[in-house]
Amino acid sequence: MANATERREEAVSQEGMTYLESLPRRVATLYLPLGVFVFVLLFPFYWMVMTSIKSNAELISREGNPFWVVAPTLEHFRHLLVDTDYPSWMWNTVVVSVVSTFTSLAASVFAAYAIERLRFRGSKQVGLAIFMAYLVPPSILFIPLAAIVVKLGLFDTRWALILTYPTFLIPFCTWLLMGYFRSIPFELEECALIDGATRWQILVKIILPLAVPGLISAGIFAFTLSWNEFIYALTFISSSEVKTVPIAVVTELVEGDVYHWGPLMAGALLGSLPVAIMYSFFVEYYVSGMTGAVKE
């Protein structure tokens, strides 16, 4: 009985003040604008898919309806995977993203724990400095970084990217994890300390298991950030076999003035697929990572 009332109350609070609105009004103020938003936001993806499965003849024909495809073909994908270096670009992107994500995550866990929980002398200032570091855009760093990368002999290697991506990943992950660690009660740590646990044991056995959602959020977000990175990869890499997907599609698939739209779209689609799939599995984590970094 109590349960039923509760459920009804829940339903009422879910609907809020919706009952004050008539259906036509709801269509005009909610469904119609939302439909337009969704259409505009998704159209480029639809267009990518359509273009990538059209034959060349169909792409340049002016007859018929461009929104549909008459004879779908996977020729562009075959061309991409067999005739170009696409598989190795993909592999480069995976290696660089995974390695830099895990490196940054490890460094950030220690940093965030130190700032938030050890509260060493000056930890407040360090925390602020981390936030400031997050605001430094890559566009003003790539020139001096290029000079450093060349000096270190890392130019045109994956290491150049693996070592520079943490400059934007660490500040982000640290800032996000600081928020998560803050939400873990101090008392848990105090109990462990009284029981004789070392700081290391506390970190590994208490804090980290409780912060798993935060670690996933930070990891997913960091992975997409490094997958999408453009300006460093464009500046520090010049040979085709070391390029990452976003760079390679833009620089290697465009030959002269003839644009091969089919392979270009197929390449863009394949390059977006890994992040899109990953995102679809971890939407909640991704969103909480994004909004968590902003809300603090």
Binding site: W47, P144, V250, S280
Partner: protein, 298 residues
């Protein structure tokens, strides 16, 4: 040793070490080096000599650099205002009682998560002078008679790149603001409605004040990202036609890497810093939580 490891000051510094080392070598040092390079005549493969303000003086008189400053400000202001307006609208729509809410939220964020360079290629194709699907649709509807030259004409190119930037930025603004909206208790709206507040008044006196702190942070990020945007322009126009879409970031790349004048490029990049600081300070002091939100006076 054990004693040292239980000292939180020592342990704290030890834990900070990996992050601090990476950031000092690859963030703080480059930041300083970049500023220094701006005052030198460094070229690729040649260490520079200190030449004082010569780079900045040259850039101040350079018509392309002036144009890039104008473009950057125009791009940032127009794109940010529209991203805010559309993002807030979308957030308000998604905050309403809606079937398949989480599905819509997930779908809406897609433009933000795919690599910008790759979605920019899709826009490049949509903006193609001969095969643009937008032109095709408009012609079929009888609204225009000739295909639009989206990226070939200076003002068309500026507006087209801004449109692509907005497309990518709206989801970010919307989802962040939605997270803010969800923290506002529905009972506030019910109380306001009982007191006879119109929907506009509910928005103006309940939603907006409670959302202001988040708006401040989100828009700071949005302005920073837009001001320093690089990849969208690089993919769509490379700064053309006639430098009409060069932003400061793309021009500094152009001058420094293909052009080889590291010093000049660094000077251009350094000149973005005051603008970024101004944006951060403005949002910090202008939009932070005000007294009137807690019932006090301004």
């Amino acid at each position: 040793m054990t004693k040292l490891l239980n000292n939180r000051h020592f342990l704290g510094l030890l834990f900070m070490l990996p992050a601090a080392a990476l950031l000092l070598v690859f963030l703080t040092y480059p930041l300083a080096l970049g500023t220094w390079l701006g005052f030198t005549d460094a070229k690729i493969g040649r260490a520079g000599q200190w030449i004082g303000l010569a780079n900045f003086r040259y850039l101040a008189g350079d018509s392309v650099a002036q144009l890039s400053l104008f473009n950057t400000l125009f791009y940032t202001v127009v794109a940010s205002v529209l991203k805010f307006a559309l993002g807030l609208w979308l957030a308000l729509l998604l905050n309403r009682n809606l079937p398949f809410k989480s599905f819509f939220r997930a779908v809406v964020l897609l433009p933000f998560i795919v690599p910008t360079a790759l979605s920019a290629i899709a826009f490049w194709w949509i903006y193609d002078a001969q095969f643009s699907v937008v032109s095709w649709a408009l012609v079929k509807m009888g609204l225009i008679h000739r295909y639009i030259d989206f990226l070939g004409d200076p003002w068309n190119a500026r507006l087209s790149t801004i449109a692509a930037n907005i497309w990518r930025g709206v989801p970010f603004v919307a989802i962040c603001l939605l997270a803010g909206l969800q923290t506002i208790s529905p009972s506030l709206y019910e109380a306001a409605a009982l007191d006879g507040a119109t929907p506009w008044q509910r928005f103006r006196f309940v939603t907006l004040p409670l959302l202001t702190p988040i708006i401040a942070v989100v828009m700071t990020f949005s302005v920073l990202f837009t001001f320093t945007d690089f990849q969208l322009i690089y993919v769509l126009t490379r700064g053309g036609p006639l430098n009409a879409t060069h932003l400061m970031a793309t021009l500094s790349f152009q001058r420094a890497i293909p052009g080889g004048s590291l010093g000049e490029g660094a000077a251009l990049a350094t000149s973005m810093i005051p603008f970024l600081l101004a944006a951060i300070l403005f949002s910090y002091f202008g939009l932070q939580r005000r007294k009137w939100q807690q019932g006090g006076r301004d």
